[in-house]
Amino acid sequence: MAIVPPTMSPQGASMTDSGAVRPSARSLHFVARALGALWSNRKSRVGLAILAFFILVAIFAPWLAPHSPTATNFRPYQNPNSVNWLGTTGNGQDVLSQMIYGTRVSLLVGLGAGLLATFLALLIGLIAGFRPGVVDDVLSFTTNLALVLPGLPLMIVIAAYLRSNSTWMILLVIGFTGWATGARVMRSQTATLRTRDFVTAATFSGERLFRIVFREILPNMVSLAAASFFGAATAAVIAAASLEFLGMGNPNSVSWGSILYWAENDNALLTGQWVLVLVPGMAIVMLALSFILINFGIDALSNPRLRER
């Protein structure tokens, strides 16, 4: 059992206190507590509600969508009407059904790329912060280099070379280009934690490095990791929309960005079909907004001065 230091944050303490509980139950308890804390913040409550809405739509898409998203058996270029509530695309597909199914792709890219970027940031930040000297120098240099490389142009260039045009490629490109900001924050946090008394105590009591990193350090990084995750997810949602809009995703997949891409190709704004631009665009805005709002709550958790009184 780790020595529980008085300086540990509430999250960390709760994880070691309940040592008798099974790991799964303990992490469930932790998630519930974190959600409860976020729910008590007005802004992040709105964000959580919006995100929950999109997740439900994505899960129940087959039951919610009135038509098949890929069926092309409607009259093309229809404005909203009683059959096709949001009109039809130039290929005669139902826009509402495409919107509902498209939620899956946008959520997948946003959450997936956010997760990948956060994982890389944690990995690199933890190693760099825990191994001062050459390892830290090399990793910090890499991080700073990745930080100054221009994000969107880099993604565009890589996507242009890859030419494979798939949703997964977009997810990977965004994930692998978006980790640097998080890694820098995690590195400095790890570096300060490493010299704290409770970590020294754990080292002296003979704990292995692996256990120190995962049981002593990591619990204190949860709010940083969460903030980094939602920040990366926000950027991912916006970047994915931009890449798809440029036709660098798979234009034949059913996603919000693809609807925008085809709308631009068909000059939907000039032909009066502004719904084709407004609806997917606003959906992207709302999803990105939900991540930003949730991050407000996380900020307030980790910095008491920002709490609303």
Binding site: L145, V148, P150, L152, P153, Y161, V277, V285, D299, R305
Partner: protein, 328 residues
Amino acid sequence: MRYFLRKLAMFALTLWAAVTLNFIIPRLMPGSPVQAALSRLAGTGQTVTEAMKRAVEIQLGLPHTSLWAQYGDYLIGIMHLRFGMTYSITDVSVTRAILAAAPWTIVLVGTSTVIAFVIGTLLGVYAGWRRQTKVDSAVTIGSTFFSAFPPFFLGLLLLYFLGFKYHMFPLTGGYTPGAVPHLTLSFLGDAVYHSILPAVTLVVTSLAGWVLGMRNNMINTLGEDYVLFAEANGLRDRTIALLYVARNALLPNVTGFGLALGAVIGGSVLVESIFGYPGIGSLLLLAVNNRDYPLMQAIFLLITVSMLVTIFVVDLLYGLLDPRVRGT
């Protein structure tokens, strides 16, 4: 002095790494960018001269020479600013195409960045000072809402409503077609008129970063002991907020401003393309759509290097402004 030397060494190292990365990326990619570029070049109908072929190969990878020899050729080419011919625009070298586009981007995005920084910081000062008021909520929520907009989407909306529907602004271009870019008052006026919508798009979507950063710093600084002391001394509320708090809360935002200036050249790819603005962003997309790899490589290099140079200069200035930084 040691501080500046270390910064200089760091800058040189990063510059080298970025230039090398620009060399490696096309060579790592599956397929053969060289073949694609050459067949694309032949497809444009121009006669492919030996020199053009060689330029493409130097930038994107030669099948027969060693990697080191290629790397040497590539570095020499960069030092002489030789980037070969673009085949997106006939009879124009990559360097000339970039030089023609860069001023447009620098003026548009540079001005927008400055405007966004000033407005955002002032709003942030006010919101942080008067926190928990209606103005604070309106500023915070409003700027956050617009920061969730992909810039190209806001651009499309503005273009549709203000340009297409109500004819208040031109639909495309950096100036009226037919006009020749030169420095007269009427041409400048025309250019400004064309740049209003893209500028508004860029300012509105980037406002939140400045507002929230400044607001958070204000709130943190307002909690400091010396602020309490100033209050106890009976100083006026506004004096404390502006002279004591805002000045100290400003530093992180100034750093951010340096970074934002560095990102100017590459920061508006999609917005430029939406508005048909004749800048670097539009040029990059033109290159991407035409698989014009020499142009694409050169633009990417320019975007990266301008970022690095700006950060370097900001670092130096920061060292001059804040002696504490030099010590670490």
